[in-house]
């Protein structure tokens, strides 16, 4: 679907202002950054998180009274997929030291570390091993690796500044301190970072960074990391991977400790009871909930299942009142709507422009601020670009990159995006892209500590499902780092816990019965069930004709 009609004509406006913008860029003149007060004001007015009508207070559970998006509240005010009475808890199907729920980056890294610390591991995942948000990361991974100009303290400052100074200090300290070690671990396993000829890592800026510390593998950092650690997991005899087997409920024991989980075979529709001495939830994010109707960058299985599991088992929620909208998601062509355009495009020099080809925001603002500015430009100032398919967007002027950094740079440094657009007849080294904010990341999640432990003994967390590391807003490249840092901690601590501390006891789903009772007492009569496992995109007309309950 190449540009036609109106958008095609509007490209010439962008071209007209380009040479002047280029010369400003070359002189190092950037659009002014907002002050902290200006940031606060624009977020308050335009960021979707701040829309009162978009959220409500929870009526049940450990974080009762906490106000979060309806899409989350709907999941938490829902019943279990299974009636606890139907499950025979005396009949354990599989037993292991460590059970990991979720086979993305966090789950796989945790599995490797748990195995290295002597545990037998079952890794249960919803889709294929590696069908996960980790696979999709493009931008890169942050870490202060260049001593001459960077340090973990600067990384710390950038991170909490981006998170509105609300992040949990201990968690951020872990994040930045373990960073260089994680990169070295990846390099050891064979992850091919983009490097200078002497092996020095290439690095870029991201929104909100004071130093260029975003390390990357072309524009497919996530797949390079994911496929490498998955390959390594496949070498380990003591890691047993169960695909298409999502967890639908945690199982506790008589001591109130986590004792494993109930899995559901998506293909045969059987339930499988797994008993484990320690359990790690690594189920990732929530994009497929389409919070406030936004399109999303996330993979098919990002339905916040882990939040439901953990919450029913008694964990608290942290920072779940904020989700991250990535400022630059594709709005045209429609077929690939929602897909991420990495902020590295902006890092490499592409301007963000309105319908008149004018800049209206610095390209390096933190994501929430950048998104709010784009929403303001389109909705309040009326300077959005009509896509021709009934939506609005702004331009991301990618052709600037080839002009600034040399012919062929876009194709070489962004091969993934280049090919996506090429399939639709758009050459992004010649024509700009149309973008709009897209639901990207779950800033918050379940509460945990700097040892990856939760308030339920034997239950650990890592990755996007957790909350606290990023405060109210995550910086680019801090999630891959978070995922790997805390997964490695969780894997090790869960293995040690399984060996030294786990206590056997009668398995129970009493917490689910209790939760159901709480729902009733709160007057919530609903046929909603959660976790939802998979989104439903069936055409509504077809759905009306699907009469079998499922």
């Amino acid at each position: 679907m190449p540009y036609t009609g109106e958008p095609k004509k509007l490209i010439s406006v962008v071209e007209k202002t380009r040479s002047e913008r280029l010369s400003r860029k070359r002189k190092g003149e950037e659009f002014p950054l907002m002050s902290l007060e200006e940031r606060a004001a624009i977020l308050q007015k335009f960021h979707p998180d701040h829309k009162e009508e978009g959220r409500r207070e929870l009526k049940v559970g450990a974080s009762k009274g906490y106000s979060i998006a309806h899409e989350f509240a709907d999941l938490l005010e829902a019943r279990s997929r299974v009636a606890p009475d139907l499950v025979d808890l005396s009949n354990v199907d599989m037993e292991t030291d460590v059970l990991i729920v979720g086979g993305g980056g966090a789950g796989t890294a945790a599995a490797l570390l748990a195995e290295e610390h002597g545990a037998k591991v079952i890794l249960a995942t919803k889709l294929r091993h590696g069908d996960a948000n980790t696979m999709m990361a493009e931008g890169g991974i942050q870490s202060a690796t260049k001593r001459e100009k960077d340090s973990i303290c600067l990384h710390y400052l950038d991170t909490i500044g981006g998170g509105h100074f609300k992040n949990e200090p201990g968690l951020v300290a872990n994040l930045v301190t373990e960073g260089p070690g994680v990169l070295s671990w990846l390099e050891n396993l064979g992850v091919a970072f983009s490097k200078f000829p002497d092996g020095r890592l290439r690095s870029l800026h991201g929104g909100g960074t004071s130093r260029r510390r975003l390390h990357f593998c072309g524009d497919i950092t996530g797949i390079e990391i994911m496929r490498t650690i998955r390959d390594e997991a496949r070498n380990r005899q003591n890691i047993n991977v169960l695909e298409f087997s999502p967890a639908v409920e945690l199982v506790l024991n008589a001591h109130g400790h986590c004792a494993g989980a109930l899995l559901y075979n998506l293909e045969t529709e059987e339930y499988i009871l797994v008993k484990a001495k320690a359990t790690i939830i690594t189920t990732g994010g929530c994009g497929r909930l389409h919070v406030q109707g936004y399109m999303t960058t996330n993979h098919y299985g990002a339905t916040a299942d882990g939040i439901v599991l953990g919450y029913r088992a008694g964990l608290q929620l942290k920072f779940l009142h904020t989700v991250q909208y990535h400022p630059t998601g594709i709005v045209f062509p429609e077929q690939v709507g929602g897909l991420l355009v990495t902020e590295k495009f902006r890092g490499a020099g592409a301007n963000v422009l309105n319908i008149n080809g004018e800049q209206f925001v610095n390209e390096k603002e933190p994501r929430d601020v950048e998104s709010a500015a784009i929403i303001r430009e389109c909705l309040e100032r009326g300077k959005g670009v009509p896509t021709g398919t009934g939506k609005l967007g702004v331009w991301l002027d990618s052709p600037m990159i080839d002009i600034l950094l040399g012919e062929g740079t876009v194709e070489r440094d962004f091969p993934g995006k280049y090919i996506v657009y090429k399939r639709f007849g758009i050459d992004i080294s010649r024509e700009p892209m149309l973008v709009y904010p897209t639901l990207h990341y779950q800033n918050g999640g379940l509460e945990f500590n700097d040892r990856s432990e939760t308030t339920v003994p034997g239950l650990f967390l890592a990755g996007e499902v957790s909350g606290g590391v990023h405060g109210e807003n995550r910086l680019v490249g801090n999630s891959l780092l978070d995922v790997l840092v805390f997964a490695r901690i969780a894997g090790k601590n869960a293995a040690n816990y399984a060996r030294d501390k786990a206590r056997d006891g009668q398995m129970t789903l009493e917490h689910v019965r209790f939760y159901h009772k709480e729902l009733e007492e709160a007057g919530i009569a609903t046929d909603r069930i959660a976790p939802i496992l998979l989104p439903d995109y069936t055409d509504p007309e077809v759905r009306k004709r699907q009469l079998t309950a499922h």
Partner: protein, 257 residues
Amino acid sequence: MKAEDNQETGLKEKTETGKLKLIPIYVMGKRYQVPHALTIMKALEYAGYRFIRGCGCRGGICGACATVYRKPGDYHLYVGLACQTVVEPDMYLTQIPFYPANRAHYDFAQLTVEPEEIFKLYPEVFRCIACNSCTKACPMDIPMMDVISAVKQGAIARAAGLSFSCIQCGLCVSRCMGELPQYHIAQLARRIHGSKLIPRAPHLTAAMTAAKDEKCQKMLGGLMKSDIRQLITSYNSREIEPEMAADDWTPANCDYL
């Protein structure tokens, strides 16, 4: 999410009569009418399929949705990713969500950079008859046959470079006359290349030490205890590395180094 504002199908584009322009496609031989501009994946969902297999990232990067199809009056076999390929009238398609491929087990730390290591683990590389079917089957335009011949010649770096954007969908394996598991072989080549052939980042060891040394941890401890006003002051006075600076740029302000 309400079905009406279905963000995925996002069917805004209607014809003058207010109806969607529908075209016929054949899914595993069965005819369905679907909107003309959708990807195969969204068209299947429109038709009423709810994926368990054959759908992962929905962004062209995970390899879950490999699809093969033919068009009327055309003997070619076409390949594509269901999440990236737009439907065409009368296409005959099937997804290939899984294709068996044997993977060798190895102790990665013990492997050397000798090409013989790969030959031992995957002796079948020499069964390649250079038919180029794998290359033709690749939805990512990877010259897979050249990857395999690079491996045979011991050119591991070349194999790694050529296969860098491999999403391991398995279509190459499905078409191989020599019965090779190309994507596993390429994965091994890439890991050896990434870990053992290209120079290691020389600055990482120093950074690891620095991150944990006493001075640095003390400074970090100070930040962790700072109140929000102090933090805001420090945050606002950060010196920003210029975007276009050379990699050996050094800051004027060395406060936190």
